[in-house]
Symmetry: C2
Subunit: 379 residues, 2 copies
């Protein structure tokens, strides 16, 4: 029911009402995913929606600074921001209130974020998020864990047949650095890689080969993880790039061990759109055309603590998840007791006045001889 | 853990982080209460946190206009407000997107509201709310239903022994109107009633008796519902006040029939702090000193539709609710499978590196011979 009769004057662009039954479904999905996170030892936080902009926009928050609504706090006369992402808040809490707790910290959250502007592809300006952060652990097993926990959370709400796309956002910068590439070559390569223009990449690389010479073959290796890992293994990489490749191999092996059937792709040369990632980065795509369900990866939390995490997008998850049967609605005549039927999963809808009929109250069942009986549609 | 080491510079006054285990507990309480609402046929909505201020501050929203954060929408160049209450949003949806649905509508919601300033008694500027609205039904049974549903939601999360305080905010205005009281007498009486100063009320009433003459006896009748109802029944009331009293009696009888043991008090002359109520108003107090857990009552929704509702305050409910046992944490050595233990309610906390010990990961259990065994504290 979210699509009928939108009145453009009623709500600002990109802000919407979630109506029945979607609002209940989204909340149920989120809480089911949070149960999975809790099951893996991720403890829930609830940071406020508003905080001082200097803490909100620190660290990884800088990536969403332009997208953050700002407003003046009349109490402190300081500027506050409405959060556009939750990860910076978790980083703040880890570095302050939880600074004394042994690492790694496993934390999770669910809530709304707000953005100043939507994009053409993602017009919403209020987005639900549910995520996990593992802070203070550098092991490849940590990256694997957050990816596998996110996949498990999606499976619990019925979203299977997903694919995990892995990128190494530090690989191309490491190769450029080793090659001593200048600004013009760097931006030319970035542009060509972004367009996935292999001819342009090959032409640019020829101007300054050495460590960059592997780029065309790495680009061509993008695809199922095993093939891409083999190409990385065979490639002639400088030490920093070799370390990135070995780390990626460890992460992917750990994921495959824990999620054997999972479809994994690896793109070793993709590096845009992961602005604050410092290691392996993940995107989870749903089956068919259902789009991005989650993103995450390794980053530096406050005080340069190594961290990794995943953010799931419950609005996208809901579009990918199978529909659930609506709750049956039992009409309760005036004075009838609905408690036994609620205990069996019915919504009991009480008549409050004589004009309240089962049809008006959109009931699916009525009481007959003390039993809940389906109401058959009239001819 | 919400009280240790607050750094006043870190977060704006009245905005706080909810830490483990409180954040999970609050979310669990809210969802458990939402299940009760759904069981009574209340369908969940999720309005956006931000909307145009003219719709947000319409109707009952006017009561929180001064408490609403305002910000400019760069897309539309119109002013938006961050919601300070959810009821006006539900009213908007009922009057627009759900205008074609038969009445009464039963709707529910859970989410955050934000306020520009806290008060001395309630310093928080971000408050969780969970509530029900019954729109398009004028029957006393509707008022009784929202009160009883709220009481049941509290009971489900372990908050029993509550008291329901009922007020009739239209009673004193109806008596003043019938008496033709002028502005000076009205404000004098309001002030005296607000201070519960029976001598001052008696003195003021003597200046213009008639319909106001009942005020001292109504004031004295405040207390357990049965006694107060009897006093109302015996009082000499003008017709409008008599209708209010009869409606109150119907509502209270319906509540008593559905919640026989409930402690109910009635204050027929309290009328401040219920600025938009047009009939019976409710406050639910927790046991002991735990304060207000919920408020609600009858009001006019958009297009003057009769409506009634209750808003529960999950932060207060959490303070009043019994603590729950923390989730046991099972240490998982590298490579061990935690799934069977998660299915039994454990959080399984995986070692990711050799320095990850059960103690560091704050585990309560470890694996011995394939079983989860409590870790005994060392001497």
């Amino acid at each position: 029911m979210t699509d009928d009769l939108p009145n453009p004057a009623l709500l600002p662009a990109g802000l919407a009402d979630l109506l029945p039954p979607d609002a209940e479904r989204e909340a149920d999905l989120v809480e089911a995913m949070m149960v999975v996170f809790a099951g893996h030892g991720y403890e829930r936080l609830k940071p406020p929606l508003l905080e001082f902009e200097d803490s909100l926009l620190a660290g990884s928050g800088a990536a969403v600074a332009e997208q953050t609504f700002r407003l003046m706090d009349p109490v402190s006369q300081r500027m506050m921001g409405l959060r556009a992402d939750t990860t910076p808040q978790v980083a703040r809490i880890a570095a302050t209130r939880l600074s004394g707790q042994a690492r790694p910290l496993r934390l999770c959250y669910a809530g709304q974020v707000l953005r100043v502007r939507g994009t053409q592809l993602a017009p919403s300006r209020q987005l639900p998020q549910a995520g996990v952060e593992l802070i203070g652990g550098a092991a490849p097993a940590a990256d694997a864990e957050v990816a596998v926990v996110a996949i498990e959370a999606l499976a619990v709400v019925g979203v299977t047949a997903v694919s995990l796309d892995v990128t190494l956002p530090t690989m191309v910068p490491a190769l450029m650095e080793a090659a001593g590439a200048g600004p013009a070559l760097r931006s030319g390569l970035a542009h060509a890689l972004d367009r996935k223009d292999s001819a342009a990449v090959a032409a640019l690389v020829q101007r300054q080969p050495g460590p960059l010479a592997v780029l065309p073959e790495l680009m061509a290796s993008t695809g199922p993880a095993d093939g891409a890992l083999a190409a990385l293994d065979a490639a002639d990489l400088p030490p920093a790039a070799r370390a990135i490749a070995q780390n990626a191999a460890s992460v992917l092996l750990a994921i495959q061990a824990r999620a054997p059937g999972l479809r994994i792709t690896l793109d070793p040369v993709e590096f845009r759109g992961f602005r604050y990632h410092t290691g392996v980065a993940f995107t989870i795509y749903g089956p068919g055309m259902s789009g991005e369900l989650a993103r995450g990866g390794r980053y530096l939390s406050q005080n340069d603590e190594p961290a990794t995490g995943m953010t799931l997008y419950p609005d996208a998850v809901m579009r990918a998840a199978p529909g659930s049967a609506p709750r049956p609605r039992l009409f309760l005549p005036i004075g009838a007791d609905g408690a036994p039927f609620r205990a069996r999963g019915f919504a009991t809808v009480a008549a409050l006045a004589t004009e309240d009929t089962p049809q008006r109250l959109r009931c699916t069942h009525e009481l007959k001889g003390g039993e809940a009986v389906p109401i058959l549609p009239k001819d």
